[in-house]
């Protein structure tokens, strides 16, 4: 049996545990003095998204009450899902952890595995992006192209993509599908440098890159040397007008819709086009800033204001201009929340297209049969 002193100690320990468990949570004030805010980037430390996160966070602190320390952290894995899942499931609820990255809205629509969040449930500060994607091809493709329109008659080449279901792969494929150009799609190059290496090696002849990648990897190298051509660019669709935006900083590179009209002489249509339009409306925002769903509203509104103020800061804009040659299109909190709620209005034609492209239907067929 327990001695009386041990009983007393056990009672004391039990009482302390009860007190700890039943203690009310301290009220969370929206003042971050002395705290550290972690901006979680769900991709690699050397990549374009992290560079943009660093550009954004450089001045973020001065717009947050208490001027906290703001640091960037990378949680890599699962094509970005690991980091997003983390913030959704285990992220801090006091505003000191904010995701900076793309939400896989297409993956949720298509039922891709590994996604454990509902976008609308996040506390959303806003989103940014709208940078165009650019399609690049080797200039010697199919015997060579002298002017961009020559490409429309080529076929049988290889298009490279990064990861299954990734944005860049889809943006590589969709315009070719819309144009009806037959090509073989090879996915699995993991990152832009490996895609670029494959293009140099002539293992692939076409690819798509995001705006930061275009400026960082291609303009000063393969395009300058004449070994590759920026074929066309894909801008985003303005949610309010339903029309394509037309950024002007990628000079001399036609917009896809104009290219299509020129070589096909009409308006695009079909499953691939519907898919492309949906994609250009939702997936083009790559810099969502979201917090754990249980983050208090007062903290959310304070950080939403800081988000907007920081994007309006000329220093932040200048920093983005330096790396991306354009400032991103910003969607503030309430509008972004709508975007995160409406994303699943994907047309059936687009769904058909994506199901084929992802290859999940074929890959999981055997399992379903069983």
């Amino acid at each position: 049996m327990f001695s009386s002193s041990l009983k007393f100690l056990l009672l004391l320990a039990g009482g302390a545990c009860l007190a700890m468990l039943s203690a009310p949570h301290a009220a969370t004030a929206a003042n971050f003095a002395g705290k550290t805010i972690e901006v979680i980037v769900p991709s690699g430390a050397g990549g374009g998204l992290t560079r943009n996160a660093r550009r954004f966070t450089k001045n973020f602190s001065k717009y947050i009450p208490g001027n906290p320390n703001v640091i960037v952290k990378n949680i890599v894995g699962g094509g970005g899902q690991k980091g997003i899942n983390y913030v959704y499931k285990k992220g801090k609820k006091d505003g000191t952890q904010i995701l900076f990255g793309p939400l896989n809205l297409i993956g949720i629509n298509m039922g891709l595995p590994g996604i454990r969040y509902e976008p609308a449930k996040f506390k959303i500060l806003g989103t940014g992006g709208g940078f165009p994607f650019i399609t690049i091809v080797r200039s010697d493709i199919g015997g060579g192209i002298k002017k961009r329109e020559d490409f429309a008659s080529k076929s049988g080449f290889v298009t490279g993509g990064r990861i299954p279901g990734g944005n860049l792969g889809l943006f590589s494929r969709m315009p070719f599908s819309v144009l009806g150009i037959e090509n073989r799609f090879v996915i699995g190059y993991k990152n832009q440098p490996k895609l670029k290496a494959a293009l140099i090696q002539n293992e692939i002849q076409a690819l798509s890159t995001g705006n930061p990648g275009y400026w960082a990897f291609y303009v000063n190298d393969l395009i300058k040397k004449g070994q590759a051509i920026a074929l066309f660019q894909h801008p985003s669709i303005d949610g309010k007008t339903g029309k394509f935006r037309k950024p002007t900083h990628v000079k001399g590179v036609p917009y896809f819709i104009d290219y299509y009209r020129k070589v096909k002489g009409g308006e695009p249509s079909g499953d691939a086009w519907e898919a492309m339009k949906w994609f250009s409306s939702y997936m083009i925002y790559t810099m969502w800033m979201v917090m754990h769903p249980d983050t208090p509203d007062n903290i959310t509104s304070v950080l939403r204001k800081a988000f907007t103020d920081n994007w309006n800061d000329p220093a932040t804009q200048a920093s983005f201009m330096k790396g991306n040659k354009m400032a991103p299109i910003i969607v503030n909190g309430p509008e972004a929340q709508k975007l995160a709620s409406n994303f699943n209005n994907m047309p059936a034609e687009a769904k058909n297209y994506f199901a084929k492209e992802f290859g999940i239907a074929r890959a999981s067929k055997k399992k379903k049969k069983k």
């Binding site: 430390a45 290496a197 790396g323 055997k366």
Partner: protein
């Protein structure tokens, strides 16, 4: 550019690096780099991530003096943990432990350091020199090595398994196949389907290499120190003969040709995007074993086993810098970060780096050269003091190292206790492999090369639309090298058997059939289970798991047969079954080892509830008090220092993402307002 212009750029690069404040930034980078390399689980990539924000507004030369100064030297200082503890300081020094740690056990750690630091400096300078003179060769090399060629190089790396298998080629190859199978965890390469993830986020991207390697190598060594109550050095200071720093430097000069060959291997592996630092030390080690006339001492403290990987892993950084700056194609993760820095300071990779920005390129080359020399000199100064650690009680080393390896595993593994569980599971696996004659290096090699092999095989086949790439000239040359490598390895094993050298100490040579038989059966179950699951998948997803699972199962069956035969021989010689079991248990220190594992499991469970900042110091305190039988004051002082370091370094300096425990809110509520929460959570 004319020769005079290039020479001018070379001099401008040198003067800009030696000018203030660039030289100051370099010294700072080298100092931080030496620390990041020496602590297991940190490494150059983390160091560069930490310093990256500070380079935002710097002049390019200053920024690269800081970053490259740091990055260039981590694979010099990582030798310290590899030699002293048998734990790879970074991914680039895994192979160094095979002979470095046995040298420390013989009391010759200083000799290993002398050789390692000398060839590290040589390798670093060699890689940088090759970088400077081989710029015109890069385009043809990069163009020639497509996915098919990279796949074949990965297979060539795997062929080194023969040289790393120790006593049993069957178990060596089976271990490599197990590594390859483990590499298939996570997303399939070309389809959005996850394999063997069991719905766990932690496994979505596969198992990170650092927790696996730390577990495989560190935990068994710590268990040995703890359970056998020994020092790192198994001989006293007085008995350790010929183990001084100067002996090591002399060794390095004596084996200059090996060092040059391995530095060349390192540089050219660095140039090829996609292979990277994690493989180069193994390839260099394998080369050293295969090219040696007398192979019998490898794995038991052969200085050539230290020289080869250390020359290669420093040279790779010069090689990897070439495609990064010339094409924007980083050859490794560290170079990817450097590329990010390049872009952040406003420079663009491409021809400009070789023309208008050539002085900056040469400044980077000089940074690598000077940093390597500085680090080697500084570490040689420090090494004689570090080497003395080999003679202090193992009980004082275990708790501190537990802190480093578990926090290192956590850093690499991210945000859940998955990293610790991985580290522990592979620790148990490493311990079992050690006592059962299953060599661990083949498993690591399989794990590193598995993803590359599968990815590049599928890319090559899909891009060609056929297997025609198999007939490309470079592919055929590499196939010949693979055949030659396997032949040399087989010849080496036959020679070793003829000299009856297999029962001595060294990786994969310990053999305990009583433990080995059930272990082989478990391995068989893993292979069979994986094949059973994979049989249900689409061919693009299942191709690789089936290709390694089926032969793996057959080899595991063969291992069971070998173990069964050995066991029956042991039973014939023994008086009864019980004595066989007892002897095996004593040989493997089973009861104490299980206690040690239980203590670590306890630490993980406590972490679930109260977090690392309480659980790890608690483990350290209890270990010192109850296991090591140290006084309360010593235990308290040691624990306080460990806790201080845990909070200061991992939280306040590098802002590691600590585990959010179940009792977080309760601890937060009970803590007085004047005590900051980061003290405990």
């Amino acid at each position: 550019m004319s020769g005079a212009e290039v020479f001018d750029a070379l001099l401008t690069g040198l003067t800009s690096v030696l000018a203030w404040p660039a030289i100051g930034f370099m010294v700072l980078g080298v100092t931080i780099g030496m620390w990041m390399g020496a602590v297991p689980g940190l490494g150059g990539v983390l160091g560069m991530i930490l310093l990256l924000p500070f380079t935002f507004d710097m002049e390019p030369v200053n920024a690269f003096a800081l970053l490259l100064g740091l990055f260039a030297v981590t694979s010099t200082s990582d030798t310290i943990a590899s030699v002293m503890l048998g734990i790879p300081g970074t991914a680039a020094s895994q192979a160094t432990i095979l002979d470095g740690y046995p040298l420390a056990q013989k009391g010759q750690a200083a000799r290993a350091f002398g050789a390692a630091f000398t060839v590290s400096a040589f390798g670093g300078v060699f890689g940088a020199a090759v970088l400077a003179i081989s710029l015109p060769l890069i385009t043809p090399i990069i163009t020639a090595f497509k996915s098919g060629e990279i796949f074949m190089l990965a297979i060539l790396g795997l062929a080194m398994v023969g040289s790393l298998s120790g006593g049993s080629i069957t178990k060596g190859v089976a271990a490599a196949l197990l590594g390859l199978l483990i590499s298939t965890i996570g997303s399939a390469q070309t389809v959005a389907i996850y394999r063997y993830t069991f719905d766990q986020d932690y496994l979505l991207d596969g198992l990170p290499i650092v927790p696996v390697v730390l577990g495989l190598f560190a935990i068994p060594e710590l268990m040995e120190l703890a359970t056998r109550n020994v020092n790192i050095s198994r001989v006293s200071k007085e008995q350790a003969e010929g183990g001084g720093m100067l002996d090591g430097i002399r060794d390095a000069f004596r084996h200059w040709w090996l060092a040059t060959r391995c530095a060349t291997i390192g540089t050219y592996i660095g140039i090829l995007p996609g292979l990277g630092a994690a493989i180069v030390d193994w390839v260099a080690y394998g080369h050293a074993v295969q090219s040696a006339k007398d192979k019998s001492k490898f794995g038991k403290g052969d200085i050539r086993g230290v020289i080869a990987p250390e020359a290669a892993n420093n040279a790779i950084k010069g090689g990897a810098l070439i495609p990064t700056i010339a094409f924007g194609i980083p050859g490794s993760l560290g170079m990817a970060i450097l590329l990010g820095a390049l872009l952040l300071v406003g420079l663009l990779p491409g021809p400009d780096m070789l023309t208008t920005d050539l002085p900056i390129t040469f400044a980077m080359v000089w940074t690598i050269v000077i940093a390597n020399i500085l680090a080697a000199i500084a570490l040689m100064f420090l090494a004689k003091y570090v080497a003395k650690v080999a003679f202090i009680s193992g009980h004082l080393i275990v708790p501190g190292v537990i802190l480093f390896i578990f926090m290192g595993a956590w850093l690499a593994g991210g945000t859940s206790l998955g990293a610790w569980i991985t580290c522990l599971v592979f620790g148990i696996l490493g311990y079992l492999m050690k006592v059962t004659g299953w060599a661990r290096p083949p498993l690591v090699l399989g794990l590193i090369l598995g993803g590359i092999s599968e990815n590049r095989f599928q890319l090559a086949t899909l891009a060609e639309g056929s297997y025609a790439w198999l007939s490309r000239p470079i592919v055929l040359v590499i196939v010949c090298l693979i055949v030659l490598t396997i032949f040399l390895a087989a010849r080496g094993i036959v020679k070793n058997r003829q000299t009856k050298d297999t029962q001595e100490a060294g990786e994969g040579r310990g053999f305990n059939p009583v433990v080995s038989l059930p272990f082989s059966i478990i391995v068989l179950c893993v292979f069979v289970g994986s094949v059973y699951i994979a049989a249900d998948w689409d061919i693009r997803v299942s191709q690789f798991p089936l290709a390694v699972g089926v032969p793996g199962a057959l080899l595991a069956l063969l291992a069971i047969y070998i173990d069964g035969k050995a066991l029956s021989r042991a039973r014939i010689n023994a008086s009864d079954r019980l004595s066989v079991l007892k002897e095996a248990s004593q040989q493997a220190v089973l009861p104490k080892s299980m206690k040690f594992i239980s203590a670590i499991i306890g630490m993980i469970l406590v972490t679930l509830f109260v977090g690392q900042k309480i659980a790890v110091p608690l483990f350290i305190f209890l270990y010192l008090m109850l296991w090591a039988k140290r006084s309360v004051s010593v235990s308290f002082l040691y624990t306080s220092l460990a806790w201080f370091f845990l909070v200061l370094f991992y939280d306040r300096i590098i802002h590691m993402q600590f585990h959010q425990p179940y009792l977080a809110s309760a601890i937060e509520a009970i803590l007085p307002d004047f005590i900051p929460i980061w003290i405990l959570l």
